[in-house]
């Protein structure tokens, strides 16, 4: 070992130790916001906030199934009782009376402050008369039994007025006093955690509590089903960890087995894995330093690096000619290897500039990993290699590989025809080739998404699509604006533009409205006189209305509703969702139900002074977000491709050679895209990243095919090294295709297919002769 080599090894050791130190302190995240833009629009910020920490992100949907309805109902009650003991949960709902008694009490006590119908005219003699006549009709109807109990205290019908506002809200079905799915097969509970959805550790602890409460409930063979954003993040983290770990281990084992079979030397095996390990550690450390945290998906990507980085070592080991020092072989292939790495870097650097930190992380990780891996191969490995070695396998399969490669060009025209066919097919492709849905980015498996939708439907918590968002400095202003816009929406719903809406002011009216309603209630004597006149000629006994006079007098003096009054009701949770504090002031949200004419609704909405209001279409916003993301990824990929072309022109200095290097790559990318499109479901950004990887990995193959080999033996060794390199790539990426995490699956599938094709196409489209064509 020379002094220079010793220095290199020492520097590498220091570097690796430093990287490991950084990795040890790294925080890992899995929240989807890493895949959202860094400079969002205000609407996108609301969307992202809702996804990260909104009340929606804190919901845990709990289902119990597989038992008699009676047993399931019992288990539901026991679980709810147990979970309510814990501070971890803000609320646990299963439809039993524990929650609704408080709600009823709140609405009843505050009916004169809550009812938007309370105006001075409401208590005039003619208006009261009209209400009494309506009450009389109701008493004769099926609702009579219930109305009879309310009339003496509430002849003007404020409670009914309030209840009608809530009527459109979906409610889950009930059986044996608790929530059930419509088919009675599943008991349902809804819990809200105190911790935000992105706090995965806290979510994990909450879920552990739910599981232990279920175990204690002794529901026999019944099964516990969990869903919701928190459940997703916990599961995703676990499955990314699990898949990344498992596939890394399997891939490493398989590749190690292959290397061992080829080189028959544990030492070479260890050395072959060195570039990968160094690259992976350095990649994670670089992302950690650059972004402050590493996303789980980036980490999951680590396994893909194994497939590529090991190639460098394989090129070095396999191309060493028998009896010649490995350093010589390295010197010979270095220009090609260097160009291959540069090409890959060009491809990935595109992602580095992306506005989405998730993509940028992938880019930085890959570039760092590749650079470190190739540097280790170039400057560290040779010093540790045995001075003279040769791989016996190369000699035995070399001639066979050469023969195949020599005959491959026969397929040139069939291939061109096939590529043309695929191009036509893609051009004529019906339906969207690319997925336009943000959900396709979600690391949640499709089966889990289905279960979530089903449980949401059953529990009556459907996804909200339209939302009026109001910004204001003060809470009071936000509430006043909610009331004004609520009035507009009420008129719009009468006109049939939408079905209904929910508003924070329904539970918590502005002080201004509450004071106005108190003032609208007439003084005791006047109210008695008005009601007396209204009762004339009606069959009501006048003396039964004493409770009304008492309640009205009390309402005139009672303290106004504040947030505290909502404690012990389920409206508190609702209010926390609908009225939120931000650094910039207050945000009120009015979810709309069943909007039929969004443009019409948007036209009518205008906020009073001091507030801003917009109609937000969450589906549109998230799709928009995704399209921006996709467009950006596509743009950067094309820029990357352009950079690769420029690089090749600059190095090879021959349009023909550039074409020869690029043709197999382009054909492989096209055919892979065609194959994926044929497989049915729309392509996601992860497929695009996969195609980028195909170019990054595959460019090495076509460059080596293009390289002018000094001798036929040398060329034969090159071909064998490419075959081995491809085998390892296919093992690494192909394994990922078995992952249930969509990102890993998509990338694995794309790259495994693409790299095999590139190798085959390089052979087919490569130079006909095995010997140097030019001097």
């Amino acid at each position: 070992m020379t002094a220079a080599q010793r220095w290199c090894s020492a520097a590498w050791l220091v570097f690796v130790v430093a990287s490991i130190a950084v990795v040890a302190r790294t925080t890992f995240t899995t929240d989807i916001s890493a895949f959202l833009p860094r400079s969002p629009t205000p609407e996108q910020r609301i969307l992202v906030e809702q996804l990260r920490e909104g009340v929606v992100s804190r919901l845990v949907l709990i289902g119990i199934e597989g038992g008699s309805p009676e047993a399931l109902a019992r288990a539901s009650k026991q679980m709810a009782a147990e979970l309510r003991k814990h501070e971890t949960f803000v609320s646990v709902d299963n439809g039993d009376d524990a929650g609704s008694a408080g709600d009823r009490e709140f609405l009843w006590r505050n009916r004169y402050l809550l009812s938007s119908a309370v105006t001075p005219e409401r208590f005039s003699a003619p208006a009261l008369r009209e209400r009494l006549e309506e009450n009389l009709r109701l008493l004769g109807s099926p609702a009579g039994t219930l109305v009879r109990r309310i009339v003496p205290s509430d002849p003007s019908g404020e409670l009914l007025q309030i209840l009608e506002r809530f009527e459109g809200q979906a409610r889950p079905a009930t059986r044996d006093g608790v929530w059930f799915s419509r088919d009675n097969r599943r008991a349902l509970l809804l819990a809200q955690t105190r911790a935000a959805g992105y706090d995965i550790d806290a979510q994990e602890r909450s879920l552990a509590l739910v599981r232990s409460a279920f175990a204690q409930a002794g529901a026999g063979d019944a099964k516990l089903l969990l869903s919701g954003p928190g459940v997703f993040s916990v599961n995703t983290r676990a499955s990314i960890r699990h898949d990344a770990m498992r596939f890394s281990l399997i891939a490493t084992a398989l590749i190690a087995g292959l290397l061992l079979a080829i080189y028959r030397s544990p030492r070479l095996l260890g050395l072959g894995l060195l570039p990968i390990a160094s690259g992976a550690v350095a990649g994670i450390a670089a992302v950690s330093l650059g972004f402050g945290a590493v996303h789980g998906i980036t980490l999951g990507f680590g396994v893909t690096l194994i497939g590529e980085c090991v190639d460098y070592a394989i090129y070095l080991f396999t191309q060493a000619a028998p009896g010649v020092a490995p350093q010589r072989a390295l010197d010979r292939i270095w220009p090609t290897l260097r160009l291959g790495v540069l090409t890959s870097i060009c491809g990935f650097s595109a992602m580095l500039f992306s506005g989405f930190s998730g993509l940028a992380q992938l880019g930085l990780f890959s570039i760092t990993g590749l650079v470190v891996a190739v540097a280790v191969t170039r400057w560290v490995l040779p010093a540790w290699l045995p001075p003279r070695f040769t791989a016996p396998v190369v000699a035995s399969i070399g001639p066979w590989v050469s023969a195949v490669v020599r005959r491959a060009p026969v397929l040139r025209y069939p291939l061109l025809l096939g590529v043309a066919l695929v191009a036509v097919m893609l051009a004529a492709h019906k339906g969207p080739l690319w997925s336009g849905d943000l959900a396709s980015l979600s690391p949640v498996s499709r089966a889990d998404q289905m279960l979530d939708q089903q449980m949401r439907g059953d529990i009556g918590a459907p996804d909200v699509r339209f939302l009026v968002v109001i910004h204001a400095q003060e809470e009071e202003t936000a509430l006043q604006a909610s009331e004004a816009i609520g009035e507009t929406l009420r008129r719009a719903s009468l006109a049939g533009l939408l079905d209904g809406y929910d508003s924070p002011a329904d539970y918590f009216p502005s002080r201004q409205s509450q004071l106005a309603r108190q003032k609208a209630l007439p003084a005791a004597a006047e109210l008695r006189a008005n009601l007396g006149r209204a009762l004339q000629g009606l069959p009501f006994r006048p003396q039964v209305f004493e409770p009304f006079f008492k309640d009205a007098a009390a309402a005139k003096r009672m303290p106004l509703i504040d947030r505290g009054s909502l404690q012990r009701t389920r409206f508190a949770l609702r209010l926390d969702t609908l009225l939120v504090r931000r650094e910039s002031g207050w945000v009120a949200m009015l979810p709309l139900r069943d909007v039929k004419d969004a443009a019409g609704v948007a036209r009518d909405i205008s906020a009073p002074t001091g507030a801003r209001a917009v109609l937000l279409d969450l589906k549109h916003e998230s799709d928009q977000l995704y399209r921006t993301y996709q467009a950006e990824a596509l743009t950067y990929s094309l820029l990357g491709a352009a950079a690769i072309v420029l690089l090749l022109f600059a190095t090879l200095r021959s349009p023909r050679r550039v074409f020869e290097v690029l043709a197999p790559l382009a054909a492989a990318v096209l055919v892979t895209t065609g194959a994926l499109a044929l497989s049915g479901y729309p392509l996601s950004i992860f497929h695009l990243v996969g195609l980028l990887l195909v170019v990054a990995v595959g460019s090495n193959y076509s460059l080596f095919f293009d390289r002018q080999a000094p001798s036929s033996g040398d060329r034969e060794r090159t071909m064998v090294s490419l075959l081995f390199a491809n085998a390892t790539s296919v093992i690494g990426f192909g394994l990922l295709a078995f992952s249930k995490v969509p990102v890993l699956h998509d990338i694995g599938m794309t790259v495994a297919t693409g790299t095999i094709l590139t190798l085959a196409f390089s052979a087919i489209l490569g130079r006909r002769d095995g010997l140097p064509a030019r001097a």
Binding site: R137, L139, G140, P142, G144, R148, A173, N184, P539
Partner: protein, 195 residues
């Protein structure tokens, strides 16, 4: 292979069943329910009077009542205003042409309403099992003039209704009385519709 003891038991059982079937009709609740279950379609006019503590005079309404076995019951009020209540399977639809309102409830979601309507429908259908799930039942009188007294078992139902009395003759119902826990009551008399 049936052992000797089991065979004797089986024979005794067969004998007992045959004996019951062959016996002349002893009229009891099972028999009444069987008779009621025979009726596939029943139609009648009703007059309902509600005596409420908060009112000085009873509220009167009238209309038609139609039952189609096994699970459809329609109460169509004609006076004082048009309103219909249709119970079909597990759905209850309330419709009022005057206010143009229509509401459909799934009975399982509203247990109290379910118990309430089932008192009439299960009686008409002769479904003793379902009736006994919700009520404690006593039968008074004889086949020619009988009265079923139903007392709710569920505490929530008890808060509303203390007793339901259904009167009739043979397989025909002619009166239904609801006694509410607050002291109010309603009486519905049903006369057979002459087509």
């Amino acid at each position: 292979m049936i052992s000797g003891g089991s065979r004797t038991l089986l024979l005794l059982l067969l004998f007992a069943t045959a004996a019951v079937a062959g016996e002349p009709a002893g009229w009891d609740i099972t028999r009444l329910m069987q008779d009621l279950a025979q009726v596939k379609v029943a139609k009648g006019r009703f007059v309902e009077r509600k005596y409420l503590g908060i009112l000085t005079a009873p509220l009167e309404s009238a209309g038609t009542l139609t039952y189609v076995a096994p699970s459809r019951l329609e109460k169509h009020t004609l006076t004082p205003r048009d309103e219909s209540l249709v119970l079909e399977g597990d759905r209850l639809t309330i419709e009022s042409p005057q206010t143009k309102r229509r509401r459909t409830l799934v009975l399982q979601d509203y247990p109290v309403i379910w118990m309430f309507v089932e008192s009439i429908r299960s009686t008409l259908a002769g479904d003793l099992t379902l009736l006994q799930r919700f009520y404690e039942i006593t039968l008074e009188g004889e086949e020619r003039k009988w009265r079923l007294v139903l007392k709710p078992i569920d505490p929530k139902m008890q808060e509303l209704i203390s007793e339901i009395r259904i009167g009739g003759s043979r397989s025909r119902i002619d009166s239904i009385e609801f006694f509410e826990s607050g002291g109010d009551r309603s009486v519905m008399t049903i006369t057979r519709d002459v087509p």
